[in-house]
């Protein structure tokens, strides 16, 4: 954070600093914002600027889709992540057809069945598309029963085979004949939530330590800064690997999950602490903070009521940008076999299956979880950048 240009004095209402006087600068050159630039609260201004950024809005929509999938993964998945079928190992993805022209013109989703040949020596299945048999695909169909959020049992799936005995593999199957689409849907829940949980934890650490460091200054600041510099000078991945290797193998999946989250956020808080400290340092000098202090406000009130609101949006942006970092870290650790362990399904765990050249050569769809990682990281970056740009009153 460089020194800010001369900031105009804060408006009368201290709860919305930087709103009115800074706004006209930001609104220059945009027809949409010329109406009521001074009256709109900061929130509204940010929202207007954010909405103009097409990339960020698209990103936010895709992110919502990811969120929905992770909340309702059991329902979205065509099957369950553990249901296997030995006759369908490495089954390739089936393409959904919408129009049936074999006898006239019918609308309706269906896929073609496979014709399976088993190599008698290697026992590997080879699949060819069998255009004579169709498997109907429907929405809200009955399928594998599952425990929704561990609360109640249900068997409705958003999409799936409406034939009672035939399965469909929209994104292919893995080496045990488990449905990749279902596994990716469940992996989305684990990977996205570990990113969020890790960020939440490092958020608390970063906010408290960075805030203390920036607000108190002096010896406290020096100590915390040395600690941060030290943590940053250790190569992250070996450190993570060392710590995750220390997670006992006999812990159950929930314990491992929590441990990995803690390990990720142990390093992740440093960046956020630096951002928060920088903001505190530059705000401490501001006239409106001095005014609040002279008015007799206590430290808590100055921080909570006067300083924090003026950089909440920056924190939100940094948080959004920190989530992809966590997701990539989890994926990498699990890929190495040091992070989450099967039967937990995360994108990294799924990619472990794609580690050797033979499985990729036979079943390139095993790389699909990696596509999910890339898309998720990409949209989180777009949204984070969008929020940051929208929140910056000087642009």
């Amino acid at each position: 954070m460089g020194p800010l240009p001369d900031r105009p004095p804060p408006p009368e209402a201290p709860s919305a600093p930087a709103a009115s006087p800074a706004a006209p600068d930001a609104a220059v050159g945009s027809a949409a914002n010329e109406a009521l630039p001074g009256d709109a609260p900061q929130r509204v201004l940010i929202w207007r600027r954010f909405r103009r950024n097409k990339l960020a809005v698209t990103g936010a929509l895709v992110l919502c889709a990811f969120a929905l999938v992770s909340v309702f993964s059991e329902f979205v998945a065509p099957s369950t992540p553990d249901a296997y079928n030995a006759a369908r190992t490495y089954a390739p993805p089936q393409r959904i057809h919408f129009v049936d022209t074999s006898d006239g013109f019918d609308l309706g989703m269906y896929v073609y069945d496979y014709r399976v040949e088993r190599d008698p020596e290697t026992l590997a299945n080879t699949y060819t598309v069998d255009e004579s048999t169709k498997i109907p695909v429907g929405l809200f169909v009955r399928g594998e029963p599952y425990e929704m959020w561990g609360l109640f049992t249900a068997d409705r799936h958003l999409i799936g085979s409406s034939h009672p005995e035939q399965d469909v593999y929209l994104l292919g199957a893995d080496r045990n004949g488990r449905d990749m689409a279902s596994r990716i849907a469940h992996g989305t829940r684990v990977s996205m939530s570990i990113g969020l949980a890790g960020v939440a934890l490092s958020f608390v650490l970063g906010l408290v330590l960075g805030g203390l460091s920036g607000y108190l200054g002096g010896r406290v600041d020096n100590t915390i800064q040395r600690a941060i510099e030290f943590l940053m000078s250790i190569p992250t991945i070996p450190l993570w690997m060392g710590l995750s290797a220390a997670v006992p193998r006999d812990w159950n999946s929930v314990q491992t999950y929590l441990a990995i989250t803690v390990i990720l956020s142990l390093i992740g808080w440093t960046d956020l602490a630096r951002v928060v400290r920088g903001r505190f340092l530059s705000l401490r000098q501001e006239d409106f903070v001095t005014a609040a202090r002279l008015d007799g406000c206590g430290t808590g009130r100055i921080i909570g009521r006067h300083m924090l609101p003026s950089f909440t949006s920056h924190i939100i942006a940094s948080l959004t940008l920190a989530v992809p970092f966590m997701i990539l870290a989890e994926t990498s650790l699990s890929f190495l076999g040091l992070g989450l362990q099967p039967p937990v399904v995360s994108w990294g765990v799924l990619l472990q299956e794609a580690q050797n050249i033979h499985s990729i050569a036979n079943a390139p769809w095993l790389l699909l979880p990696g596509v999910a990682v890339t898309v998720a990281v990409l949209v989180l970056n777009f949204v984070g950048d969008g929020v940051r740009d929208a929140a910056d009153p000087y642009r």
Binding site: A246, F335, I360, V373
Partner: protein, 333 residues
């Protein structure tokens, strides 16, 4: 400047000490040790384990000593006589195992650094000068995707493509026919021809980040009044851009030296496993999995030290390159 250098180097001492402590702590964290894992493996195979033998081994490696004593034995051996201890798994000196691998890692690091500079510099300048042009958009999108894709994903995709379309499986930096050959021109050429692929894969994220930072910095600089002045004076456009704005925005290139090593070691681990390169990464992962404590600890220590040295170098270079940083530091000191 000299005071700054000395002070900066003194800072390294406590950092290095702390890194060594953390490295040792990490390898001590897992419950059990290499010996217990080894014994478990032996008894799983149905072989009896002689208690006296176990005790002798524990005695020899000092496994029952308190933490600080073990740490002291380890670190004093390294500092005083360069002895990194023995690898349990390979029954060889850790130092031998490690130096074999670290050479290649450094070669990879330096070539990745040079390549990402070579790619990022022209592209970054171009996309800043021609902001919002088609080329800029293409670069931005490619850069974002490059940042978002995990390195090992790229390696996997690359492995798949080369298998699928060229019918060869990738792997190794040294081709088979040169595996045992002494170093000569042919072998060097062979290594260079195999090296560019991993270098490209490992460098993607770093290059993309560099392009983005260079573009943002240069855009800020180009808006400043002195650029208008230079242009008004009638300087040719390329001089207007290259003379000061580009110079001012080059600092991220220098700070890269500091972080290239840690990121590289991180990205490299996965890429090396996928492409089966003989660098530090795969060995480190294996050592961590098998609780081969001296090997793993020494790796973390050496890589941490290299990182600290890299940061030092980049800080000094930055201070030399950019007088603003130099004076700011002198004031503070």
């Amino acid at each position: 400047m000299r005071r700054y250098v000395i002070r900066r180097m003194l800072y390294m001492v406590p950092t290095l000490f702390a890194i060594s402590l953390v490295a040792f702590l990490i390898i001590q964290l897992p419950p059990g040790n290499f010996l217990s894992a080894y014994i478990a493996e032996l008894s799983a195979q149905g072989q009896g384990v002689d208690n006296a033998q176990v005790r002798a081994l524990e005695e020899r490696y000092g496994l029952n000593d308190p933490f600080l004593v073990q740490y002291w034995n380890w670190i004093s051996g390294i500092v005083l006589s360069g002895d990194f201890g023995q690898s349990f798994q390979y029954h060889r000196d850790v130092a031998d195992l490690m130096w074999d691998r670290i050479g290649l890692t450094l070669v990879l690091a330096v070539s990745t650094l040079l390549l990402s500079w070579a790619i990022a510099f022209p592209i970054g300048v171009y996309s800043a000068v021609r902001q919002y042009s088609v080329g800029d958009y293409v670069v931005t999108v490619v850069g974002f995707v490059g940042l978002a894709t995990p390195n090992f994903m790229l390696a996997l995709i690359f492995a798949w493509i080369s298998y699928r379309y060229f019918g060869e499986s990738v792997g190794g930096i040294v081709s088979r026919e040169y595996a045992d050959a002494a170093w000569n021109i042919g072998k060097v050429m062979d290594v260079v021809s195999n090296l560019w692929i991993p270098v490209l894969i490992i460098g993607t994220a770093g290059t993309a980040a560099l392009i983005r930072v260079l573009r943002a910095n240069l855009l800020d600089e180009l808006r400043k009044p002195y650029v208008t002045t230079a242009r008004a004076k009638g300087l040719p456009e390329w001089r207007v851009i290259l003379k000061y704005p580009v110079r001012m925005s080059l600092s991220p290139f220098i700070s890269t030296i500091g972080w290239i090593l840690p990121t590289l070691v991180g990205g490299e681990v996965m890429v090396s496993i996928v492409l089966s390169l003989e660098t530090t990464g795969p060995l480190l992962v294996e050592a961590l999995r098998n609780q081969d404590m001296y090997l793993a600890g020494s790796f973390i220590l050496v890589l941490g030290t290299l990182t600290v040295i890299g940061t030092l170098l980049s800080d000094l270079l930055l201070a030399w390159w950019d007088p603003r940083i130099r004076y700011q530091h002198v004031e503070r000191v």
